[in-house]
């Protein structure tokens, strides 16, 4: 393992230890396939018994419960739940707006931690894990199940600088070709409308889509000192953030966040917010991976 990868991996070591043991079940039954940890839509012949069904012509005679047939003189098929793997794709937004605050890049750091940790959790469940980074040089790691996947995630994230202005929705569309579960980690300050359209289509197609909105506390509550603020993705846009405009900004930004959360939730997307510094990353992970309707266990 190269020395620089060691340094990068060390940054995630504590978080990976903290999330060890977390399970991330699929929010619904998955398609059948390679046996895995998630409930499959198919009923198979595993050892975990579920129910009997009368034999029908065409059923495999090997699945007839001959002992029951001997006792009842009726032919029943023994059914059990199948379990399958659930390929997971992590999609990271590496646009320039994620490099905020400039001094710490805290939004990008948190997004990278969430991506690596969620990937590691999925891999611990035996799921193939892939990564797509929508950056100046797009990164695509197809889902794999090998043990080095987590290292590959760390290496790819560490080599990425969030300084581009690329749209996110194409990367999501490409990633959707590989994974049954998509985790989009972004601040939605790029092509949110297109992203909502793609996510809605994927949900309608039976995919499990998670959307994690990364927010810096400075964005929610900017400093009260007057400043000429500019958008890193649109430097020509310069606005005066003063005492007069600050209240309007806070209200507008809050309304926009609420609208994003509402629209994505309505579309069937598992929407979460990750505010920098407000929660520890492992707590965020538990909240994101909690089954539907279950509060995260801290």
């Amino acid at each position: 393992m190269p020395a620089d990868l060691d340094d990068s991996y060390d940054q995630y070591a504590a978080l990976l230890d903290a999330v060890r043991g977390i399970r991330w079940p699929a929010r619904s039954t998955v398609r059948g396939g390679i046996p895995g940890a998630h409930n499959s839509r198919l009923r198979g012949i595993s050892a975990e018994f579920t129910e009997y069904r009368p034999y029908r012509q065409g059923d495999d005679t090997r699945r007839v419960d001959w002992k029951l047939f001997a006792r009842s003189d009726r032919a029943y098929i023994r059914l059990s739940n199948d379990r399958a793997i659930f390929p997971t794709m992590i999609v990271l937004d590496a646009s320039a707006s994620m490099a905020f605050p400039q001094a710490t890049n805290a939004k990008w750091v948190l997004a990278a931690q969430l991506g690596v940790a969620l990937g590691a959790i999925a891999r611990h469940s035996g799921d193939p894990v892939g990564l797509a980074i929508a950056g100046e040089e797009p990164v695509l790691l197809v889902p794999r199940m090998r043990r080095s996947v987590t290292h590959e995630l760390v290496r790819s994230v560490a080599a990425t600088r969030p300084d581009c202005n690329a749209p996110l929705s194409p990367s999501v569309s490409i990633a959707a070709q590989y994974g049954g579960r998509l985790v989009v980690i972004t601040d939605f300050l790029g092509d949110a409308e297109e992203l909502l359209t793609v996510a809605s289509r994927l949900v309608a197609a039976g995919r499990e889509v998670h959307a994690v909105q990364v927010i810096a506390s400075e964005e929610i509550d900017p400093p009260r000192d007057a400043a000429m603020v500019s958008d890193p993705e649109a430097p020509e846009m310069r606005r005066a953030l003063t005492g007069d405009t600050r209240d309007s900004y806070v209200a507008s930004y809050g309304a926009w966040r609420d609208r994003i959360a509402h629209e994505f939730t309505e579309a069937g997307v598992a929407y979460s917010t990750a505010i920098v510094g407000e929660e520890s990353p492992d707590h965020l992970i538990r909240r994101i991976t909690a089954p539907r309707g279950v509060a995260a266990a801290v």
């Binding site: 400039q102 606005r239 309007s248």
Partner: protein, 449 residues
């Protein structure tokens, strides 16, 4: 130190105070910052109000205040106070044609002049001499121009203002023959502006006290010449002595005419009937003019103007009559003790011009004494008494400080203001570069590197 124009200093102090105030309360552009959610900030004007509790930039403020105050002080003309002498003189030295005795002028001025005095030379114009006054006095020569005491007195007032910081009181000394022609209607009024008595040093003993204002007026003309009647009327009205020569001297130089005809003290008027007057040249295009004037005599009539006096003819001569458009109509040249007057006025035999009263007065005025003679006529005793005035020396407070006096400190203050402006420019540019570098995103810095 005092300021000749303190208003500029006060104005600059007001501007400096405004600059200081602006550095405290100026609405300035706030710091630049990156905010990914900038799109949610209302799009208002690009500048924002930010009141500072301390000066926004102390060095810039000091440089700006220094530039403004230094420029204002330079325009206010600061002058250093000097020790003042008890008294000083302003000496008016007459170099006009009336003052013929240059030796007497030099001796009189040298006897009066002391270091620190101002010497004003005048004839038709006045000038204050500077530098080595002794050498200038040694080279004094009278000119041929008419003296003008009014101009000299104005120059004396200015000289007094220039000297007001060097002496406590001033005395006006006039070294002049005080001829009558040197005084005009404004002389008394201007003299009254100099408070106190003037010391008159009268030079040139050859001043003629009286001149015959009536005498023999003759004319040499053909029998049908209309000017015969005019001269006869002028003679009966008591014109001065003179000879009007109407002969045409075709091909004969004017000088030979005067030499052959002038007699001592006599005024000879060369007024050819149709030929070219002495010193005149034919005009390219003959035109008409509506009148002519000589002294106080004015004749309004249509004159045909065929001759003109070029500049080289007028040089050294005295213009004694002019057309209403200002061109010379008659000139006078000295000829020994006498003079020859060349008249280029055509007298038409048609009409009553020759017998009109205004034309007779005009001809009579042309027959007056020579200018060289009138320049020796002394001023009236009453005028001399007014010129001398009453009282003692004039206090320095009577003179207004000159607004155009040279301030030795002003150039240095202007240089200081210029240096402050240049320094302010550099400091401001440096601050701006630092500010831009501070606002540049890290990725841009990396790209720039």
């Amino acid at each position: 130190m005092s300021f000749l124009a303190p208003g500029f200093l006060f104005a600059s102090l007001a501007v400096a105070a405004a600059i200081v105030a602006l550095h405290f309360i100026v609405t300035r552009q706030p710091r630049s910052a990156i905010l990914p959610t900038a799109r949610f900030v209302p799009d208002t004007r690009a500048t924002a109000v930010a009141r500072a509790k301390r000066p926004s930039d102390l060095l810039l403020m000091l440089l700006r205040v220094l530039a403004v105050v230094a420029a204002g002080a330079a325009l206010a003309k600061p002058v250093l106070e000097r020790s003042r002498a008890p008294d000083a003189r302003v000496i008016l030295v007459d170099l006009s044609r009336s003052a013929r005795d240059s030796i007497a002028i030099r001796d009189s001025v040298r006897a009066i002049y002391r270091d620190g005095d101002a010497v004003v030379l005048f004839d038709s114009a006045a000038r204050v001499i500077g530098g080595n006054v002794g050498d200038t006095l040694g080279a004094l020569r009278p000119t041929t121009r008419r003296g003008n005491l009014s101009a000299a007195l104005i120059a004396a007032l200015r000289a007094g203002s220039a000297l007001r910081d060097r002496a406590e009181s001033f005395e006006l000394v006039i070294v002049s023959p005080l001829a009558k022609e040197e005084l005009d209607a404004a002389t008394d009024s201007i003299r009254a502006l100099w408070l106190g008595k003037a010391k008159l040093v009268r030079i040139g003993g050859s001043v003629v006290d009286t001149l015959p204002m009536t005498g023999r007026l003759e004319i040499s003309a053909d029998a049908g010449d209309p000017l015969q009647a005019t001269v006869a009327l002028a003679r009966s009205a008591g014109a001065a002595s003179g000879v009007v020569d109407r002969r045409d001297f075709r091909g004969v130089p004017a000088r030979s005419v005067s030499e052959s005809s002038s007699r001592g003290g006599e005024t000879r008027i060369a007024w050819p009937a149709s030929a070219r007057p002495p010193g005149a040249v034919q005009r390219a295009v003959t035109d008409t003019v509506g009148g002519v004037m000589a002294g106080e005599s004015v004749v309004v009539a249509a004159f045909e103007r065929r001759w003109s006096y070029p500049a080289d003819s007028v040089g050294g001569a005295e213009v004694i009559a002019r057309w209403v458009d200002g061109e010379p109509a008659a000139i006078e040249r000295p000829d020994g003790d006498a003079c020859v007057r060349s008249v280029a006025i055509a007298v038409t035999p048609v009409g009553d011009l020759a017998i009109r009263r205004d034309f007779v007065r005009f001809v009579a005025s042309l027959s007056g004494p020579c200018v060289a003679t009138t320049s020796l006529m002394p001023a009236d005793p009453s005028s001399v008494a007014k010129l001398q005035g009453i009282g003692g020396l004039t206090s320095r407070e009577a003179f207004q400080p000159l607004s155009d006096v040279r301030s030795e400190l002003a150039p240095w203050l202007l240089a200081l203001a210029l240096a402050a402006v240049i320094a302010e420019l550099f400091v401001r540019r440096r601050r701006r570069d630092v500010l831009h570098a501070g606002n540049r995103p890290e990725s841009h810095k990396a790209r720039a590197a």
